[in-house]
Protein backbone atom coordinates (compact mmCIF):
# COMPACT_ATOMS: atom_id res chain seq x y z
CA UNK A 1 0.00 0.00 0.00
CA UNK A 2 1.39 3.35 -0.93
CA UNK A 3 0.33 6.78 0.23
CA UNK A 4 -2.06 7.22 -2.68
CA UNK A 5 -4.19 4.31 -1.50
CA UNK A 6 -3.96 5.07 2.21
CA UNK A 7 -6.50 7.84 2.23
CA UNK A 8 -4.03 10.62 2.00
CA UNK A 9 -5.60 11.67 -1.28
CA UNK A 10 -8.47 13.23 0.73
CA UNK A 11 -5.98 15.35 2.71
CA UNK A 12 -3.99 17.20 0.06
CA UNK A 13 -2.25 19.57 2.51
CA UNK A 14 -1.18 16.86 4.93
CA UNK A 15 1.98 15.74 3.15
CA UNK A 16 3.08 19.30 2.44
CA UNK A 17 2.52 20.40 6.03
CA UNK A 18 4.30 17.36 7.39
CA UNK A 19 7.20 17.76 4.98
CA UNK A 20 7.44 21.50 5.69
CA UNK A 21 7.55 20.84 9.42
CA UNK A 22 10.32 18.29 8.97
CA UNK A 23 12.27 20.68 6.77
CA UNK A 24 11.92 23.45 9.32
CA UNK A 25 13.16 21.13 12.06
CA UNK A 26 16.11 20.03 9.97
CA UNK A 27 16.93 23.65 9.09
CA UNK A 28 16.72 24.71 12.73
CA UNK A 29 18.97 21.80 13.72
CA UNK A 30 21.48 22.67 11.01
CA UNK A 31 21.39 26.30 12.11
CA UNK A 32 21.87 25.34 15.75
CA UNK A 33 24.74 23.01 14.86
CA UNK A 34 26.37 25.72 12.76
CA UNK A 35 26.03 28.26 15.57
CA UNK A 36 27.44 25.74 18.04
CA UNK A 37 30.30 24.89 15.70
CA UNK A 38 31.15 28.56 15.13
CA UNK A 39 30.86 29.31 18.85
CA UNK A 40 33.20 26.40 19.67
CA UNK A 41 35.71 27.48 17.04
CA UNK A 42 35.47 31.10 18.24
CA UNK A 43 35.88 30.00 21.86
CA UNK A 44 38.91 27.84 21.04
CA UNK A 45 40.36 30.73 18.99
CA UNK A 46 39.73 33.14 21.85
CA UNK A 47 41.39 30.79 24.37
CA UNK A 48 44.41 30.22 22.13
CA UNK A 49 44.72 33.95 21.31
CA UNK A 50 44.52 34.92 24.96
CA UNK A 51 46.59 32.13 26.46
CA UNK A 52 48.94 33.63 29.01
CA UNK A 53 52.71 33.77 28.73
CA UNK A 54 54.36 30.81 30.41
CA UNK A 55 54.97 31.36 34.07
CA UNK A 56 58.71 31.58 34.61
CA UNK A 57 58.33 31.64 38.37
CA UNK A 58 56.46 28.32 38.47
CA UNK A 59 58.30 26.58 35.65
CA UNK A 60 60.72 23.72 36.20
CA UNK A 61 64.15 25.11 35.40
CA UNK A 62 67.34 23.68 33.96
CA UNK A 63 69.94 24.34 36.66
CA UNK A 64 73.37 25.66 35.77
CA UNK A 65 75.88 28.33 36.71
CA UNK A 66 76.87 31.52 34.89
CA UNK A 67 80.34 30.32 33.84
CA UNK A 68 79.05 27.04 32.39
CA UNK A 69 76.06 28.67 30.65
CA UNK A 70 78.23 31.35 29.06
CA UNK A 71 80.77 28.79 27.90
CA UNK A 72 78.07 26.54 26.46
CA UNK A 73 76.31 29.23 24.45
CA UNK A 74 79.28 31.31 23.33
CA UNK A 75 81.00 28.24 21.84
CA UNK A 76 78.30 27.64 19.28
CA UNK A 77 77.62 24.08 20.34
CA UNK A 78 74.40 22.89 18.70
CA UNK A 79 73.73 20.34 21.46
CA UNK A 80 74.14 22.90 24.21
CA UNK A 81 71.94 25.39 22.37
CA UNK A 82 69.15 22.83 22.19
CA UNK A 83 69.64 22.17 25.87
CA UNK A 84 69.31 25.80 26.99
CA UNK A 85 67.74 27.98 24.29
CA UNK A 86 64.22 29.26 25.02
CA UNK A 87 64.18 27.15 28.18
CA UNK A 88 63.62 28.37 31.70
CA UNK A 89 67.03 28.16 33.39
CA UNK A 90 68.08 28.75 36.98
CA UNK A 91 71.57 30.26 36.87
CA UNK A 92 73.69 30.71 39.94
CA UNK A 93 76.60 33.13 39.94
CA UNK A 94 78.30 36.15 41.41
CA UNK A 95 76.74 39.57 40.78
CA UNK A 96 79.14 41.72 38.78
CA UNK A 97 76.94 44.77 38.38
CA UNK A 98 73.34 45.94 38.74
CA UNK A 99 72.03 48.36 36.11
CA UNK A 100 68.76 49.78 34.84
CA UNK A 101 67.65 49.55 31.24
CA UNK A 102 65.84 52.26 29.23
CA UNK A 103 62.49 51.00 30.52
CA UNK A 104 63.59 51.27 34.14
CA UNK A 105 63.81 47.49 34.61
CA UNK A 106 66.66 46.13 36.68
CA UNK A 107 69.42 44.28 34.85
CA UNK A 108 71.71 42.01 36.87
CA UNK A 109 75.02 41.02 35.28
CA UNK A 110 76.48 37.72 36.47
CA UNK A 111 80.22 37.16 36.23
CA UNK A 112 81.66 34.69 33.77
CA UNK A 113 85.24 33.49 33.26
CA UNK A 114 85.77 36.20 30.60
CA UNK A 115 86.33 39.79 31.71
CA UNK A 116 83.63 42.08 30.32
CA UNK A 117 81.35 39.17 29.47
CA UNK A 118 78.23 38.46 31.51
CA UNK A 119 75.08 36.51 31.81
CA UNK A 120 72.77 39.48 31.35
CA UNK A 121 69.52 39.05 33.30
CA UNK A 122 66.59 41.48 32.83
CA UNK A 123 64.44 41.24 35.92
CA UNK A 124 60.65 41.10 35.80
CA UNK A 125 60.26 42.95 39.10
CA UNK A 126 62.27 45.71 40.73
CA UNK A 127 62.03 44.27 44.22
CA UNK A 128 64.84 43.20 46.53
CA UNK A 129 68.30 44.64 46.91
CA UNK A 130 71.30 43.23 45.14
CA UNK A 131 74.96 44.01 45.69
CA UNK A 132 77.92 43.37 43.46
CA UNK A 133 79.95 40.45 44.81
CA UNK A 134 76.96 38.61 46.28
CA UNK A 135 76.09 35.15 45.03
CA UNK A 136 72.61 34.70 43.66
CA UNK A 137 70.45 32.30 41.69
CA UNK A 138 68.35 33.81 38.90
CA UNK A 139 65.57 32.07 37.05
CA UNK A 140 64.64 33.29 33.59
CA UNK A 141 64.16 32.42 29.94
CA UNK A 142 67.47 31.86 28.16
CA UNK A 143 67.18 33.62 24.80
CA UNK A 144 70.76 33.08 23.65
CA UNK A 145 74.13 34.65 23.04
CA UNK A 146 74.91 37.83 21.08
CA UNK A 147 78.43 38.42 19.80
CA UNK A 148 80.18 41.56 20.93
CA UNK A 149 82.70 43.38 18.77
CA UNK A 150 86.08 41.61 18.76
CA UNK A 151 87.67 44.58 16.95
CA UNK A 152 87.25 46.73 20.03
CA UNK A 153 87.65 43.91 22.53
CA UNK A 154 83.98 43.86 23.52
CA UNK A 155 82.85 40.34 24.38
CA UNK A 156 79.25 39.25 23.88
CA UNK A 157 76.73 38.37 26.57
CA UNK A 158 74.30 35.54 27.21
CA UNK A 159 70.82 36.95 27.78
CA UNK A 160 68.04 35.91 30.13
CA UNK A 161 64.66 37.65 30.11
CA UNK A 162 61.68 37.79 32.46
CA UNK A 163 63.91 36.91 35.40
CA UNK A 164 63.17 36.30 39.07
CA UNK A 165 65.48 35.50 41.90
CA UNK A 166 65.18 31.92 43.07
CA UNK A 167 66.53 30.44 46.24
Amino acid sequence: MDWKTAGYRNEPGFLNQNSMGMRKKILINILLLTVMLFSTVALIGFIIWNKPHRSVRDATAVETNAVALYHALSHDSATMKTFFLNKVVAVSGKIKQVQQNREGARVILLETSIPGASVNCTMEENTGSFKAGNTIQIKGICIGYINGDPDIGLPGDVFLTRCYTSF
Binding site: W49, K51, R102, G144, G148
Partner: protein, 182 residues
Protein backbone atom coordinates in the same frame (compact mmCIF):
# COMPACT_ATOMS: atom_id res chain seq x y z
CA UNK B 1 115.86 50.95 23.94
CA UNK B 2 114.67 54.55 24.18
CA UNK B 3 112.93 54.25 20.81
CA UNK B 4 111.15 51.07 21.91
CA UNK B 5 109.97 52.78 25.09
CA UNK B 6 108.74 55.82 23.16
CA UNK B 7 106.96 53.61 20.65
CA UNK B 8 105.24 51.73 23.46
CA UNK B 9 104.12 55.00 25.06
CA UNK B 10 102.84 56.35 21.73
CA UNK B 11 100.98 53.12 20.95
CA UNK B 12 99.47 53.09 24.44
CA UNK B 13 98.27 56.68 24.04
CA UNK B 14 96.87 55.94 20.57
CA UNK B 15 94.91 52.94 21.87
CA UNK B 16 93.76 54.88 24.92
CA UNK B 17 92.41 57.70 22.76
CA UNK B 18 90.86 55.22 20.30
CA UNK B 19 89.18 53.42 23.19
CA UNK B 20 87.62 56.64 24.44
CA UNK B 21 85.90 57.06 21.10
CA UNK B 22 83.93 53.85 21.36
CA UNK B 23 80.65 53.63 23.23
CA UNK B 24 78.45 50.61 23.70
CA UNK B 25 75.35 49.21 25.33
CA UNK B 26 74.23 45.63 25.85
CA UNK B 27 70.72 46.56 26.91
CA UNK B 28 69.53 48.85 24.16
CA UNK B 29 65.85 49.05 23.32
CA UNK B 30 64.21 48.28 19.98
CA UNK B 31 60.44 48.25 19.52
CA UNK B 32 58.34 47.60 16.49
CA UNK B 33 54.82 48.69 15.81
CA UNK B 34 52.37 47.31 13.28
CA UNK B 35 49.10 49.15 12.70
CA UNK B 36 46.36 47.31 10.85
CA UNK B 37 42.56 47.62 10.55
CA UNK B 38 41.93 44.80 13.04
CA UNK B 39 44.63 45.31 15.63
CA UNK B 40 47.80 47.13 16.55
CA UNK B 41 50.78 44.98 17.47
CA UNK B 42 53.70 46.29 19.48
CA UNK B 43 56.70 44.32 20.71
CA UNK B 44 59.75 45.29 22.66
CA UNK B 45 63.33 44.01 22.90
CA UNK B 46 65.61 45.28 25.68
CA UNK B 47 68.54 42.99 24.93
CA UNK B 48 70.19 44.86 22.08
CA UNK B 49 73.96 45.17 21.75
CA UNK B 50 75.00 48.38 20.04
CA UNK B 51 78.44 49.90 19.46
CA UNK B 52 79.05 53.46 18.27
CA UNK B 53 82.37 55.05 17.40
CA UNK B 54 81.85 58.76 18.00
CA UNK B 55 84.91 59.68 15.97
CA UNK B 56 84.24 57.72 12.77
CA UNK B 57 80.44 57.46 13.12
CA UNK B 58 80.48 53.66 12.78
CA UNK B 59 77.35 52.22 14.30
CA UNK B 60 76.09 48.68 14.76
CA UNK B 61 73.23 46.87 16.42
CA UNK B 62 72.65 43.20 17.02
CA UNK B 63 69.67 41.50 18.61
CA UNK B 64 68.02 38.13 19.01
CA UNK B 65 64.57 37.92 17.43
CA UNK B 66 63.23 35.66 20.17
CA UNK B 67 63.87 38.44 22.71
CA UNK B 68 60.93 40.48 21.37
CA UNK B 69 58.26 40.44 24.02
CA UNK B 70 54.62 40.76 22.94
CA UNK B 71 51.54 41.49 25.03
CA UNK B 72 50.12 38.10 24.02
CA UNK B 73 51.92 34.75 24.07
CA UNK B 74 50.27 33.69 20.79
CA UNK B 75 51.57 36.81 19.01
CA UNK B 76 55.08 35.98 20.24
CA UNK B 77 54.72 32.38 19.08
CA UNK B 78 53.47 33.37 15.61
CA UNK B 79 56.19 36.01 15.26
CA UNK B 80 58.98 33.53 16.02
CA UNK B 81 57.59 30.43 14.33
CA UNK B 82 55.66 31.69 11.32
CA UNK B 83 57.02 35.08 10.32
CA UNK B 84 60.59 35.60 11.53
CA UNK B 85 61.45 31.88 11.60
CA UNK B 86 63.67 32.62 14.58
CA UNK B 87 65.14 29.11 14.67
CA UNK B 88 66.47 29.57 11.14
CA UNK B 89 67.28 33.29 11.41
CA UNK B 90 67.92 33.95 15.12
CA UNK B 91 69.50 37.40 14.75
CA UNK B 92 68.70 40.76 13.21
CA UNK B 93 71.25 43.49 12.93
CA UNK B 94 72.40 46.77 11.48
CA UNK B 95 75.86 47.86 10.43
CA UNK B 96 76.41 51.35 9.11
CA UNK B 97 77.40 54.91 9.80
CA UNK B 98 76.11 58.07 11.36
CA UNK B 99 76.82 60.04 8.21
CA UNK B 100 77.01 63.43 9.90
CA UNK B 101 78.72 62.51 13.17
CA UNK B 102 80.86 65.65 12.90
CA UNK B 103 77.73 67.74 13.50
CA UNK B 104 77.56 66.38 17.05
CA UNK B 105 79.48 68.20 19.76
CA UNK B 106 80.02 65.46 22.33
CA UNK B 107 81.44 68.00 24.79
CA UNK B 108 78.23 70.03 24.91
CA UNK B 109 74.79 68.92 26.14
CA UNK B 110 72.13 68.92 23.45
CA UNK B 111 69.98 66.94 21.05
CA UNK B 112 71.67 66.63 17.70
CA UNK B 113 69.65 65.46 14.67
CA UNK B 114 71.64 62.98 12.62
CA UNK B 115 71.27 60.72 9.61
CA UNK B 116 72.15 57.06 9.56
CA UNK B 117 72.90 54.87 6.58
CA UNK B 118 73.78 51.20 6.51
CA UNK B 119 72.79 47.59 6.02
CA UNK B 120 69.82 46.24 7.90
CA UNK B 121 69.56 42.46 8.13
CA UNK B 122 66.22 40.90 9.04
CA UNK B 123 65.08 37.33 8.32
CA UNK B 124 68.37 36.62 6.54
CA UNK B 125 67.85 39.44 4.02
CA UNK B 126 70.12 42.49 3.99
CA UNK B 127 68.97 45.85 2.59
CA UNK B 128 70.59 49.25 2.66
CA UNK B 129 68.48 51.75 4.54
CA UNK B 130 68.70 55.38 5.58
CA UNK B 131 67.05 56.76 8.69
CA UNK B 132 66.83 59.95 10.65
CA UNK B 133 67.60 60.01 14.31
CA UNK B 134 69.15 62.03 17.08
CA UNK B 135 72.13 61.76 19.38
CA UNK B 136 71.49 63.16 22.82
CA UNK B 137 74.39 64.36 24.93
CA UNK B 138 73.44 64.98 28.54
CA UNK B 139 75.72 65.35 31.54
CA UNK B 140 78.44 63.21 30.00
CA UNK B 141 76.09 60.44 28.84
CA UNK B 142 75.33 59.65 25.24
CA UNK B 143 72.11 58.19 23.95
CA UNK B 144 70.66 57.72 20.50
CA UNK B 145 67.13 57.47 19.16
CA UNK B 146 65.79 56.74 15.72
CA UNK B 147 62.67 55.42 14.06
CA UNK B 148 62.10 54.23 10.54
CA UNK B 149 59.74 52.08 8.52
CA UNK B 150 60.40 48.79 6.79
CA UNK B 151 58.22 46.75 4.44
CA UNK B 152 57.94 43.12 5.53
CA UNK B 153 57.96 41.87 1.92
CA UNK B 154 61.39 43.48 1.38
CA UNK B 155 62.79 41.03 3.91
CA UNK B 156 61.09 37.94 2.52
CA UNK B 157 58.62 37.71 5.39
CA UNK B 158 55.42 36.06 4.19
CA UNK B 159 52.13 37.01 5.78
CA UNK B 160 49.39 34.46 4.99
CA UNK B 161 46.26 36.00 3.40
CA UNK B 162 44.10 34.79 6.27
CA UNK B 163 45.89 37.14 8.73
CA UNK B 164 46.79 39.92 6.30
CA UNK B 165 44.16 42.16 7.96
CA UNK B 166 45.91 41.70 11.30
CA UNK B 167 49.45 42.52 10.28
CA UNK B 168 50.50 45.66 8.46
CA UNK B 169 52.82 45.55 5.46
CA UNK B 170 54.76 48.47 6.91
CA UNK B 171 56.39 48.06 10.30
CA UNK B 172 57.66 51.00 12.30
CA UNK B 173 60.92 50.24 14.10
CA UNK B 174 62.13 52.48 16.93
CA UNK B 175 65.58 52.38 18.48
CA UNK B 176 66.50 53.84 21.84
CA UNK B 177 69.96 53.26 23.35
CA UNK B 178 71.97 54.72 26.23
CA UNK B 179 75.67 54.19 25.73
CA UNK B 180 78.58 53.81 28.09
CA UNK B 181 82.22 54.33 27.33
CA UNK B 182 84.27 51.27 26.35
Amino acid sequence: MKINFLLTVVLFLVFQSAGAQVYYTKNGNVTFFSKSPLQDIEAENNQVISVMNIQTGELQFSLLNNAFHFPKAKMEEDFNENYMESNKYPRSGFKGMVTDINAVDFTKDGTYPVAVKGDLTIHGVTKTITAKGAIIVSKGTISAVSSFTVFVKDYGIKIPNIVSNNIAERIKISVNCSYQEK
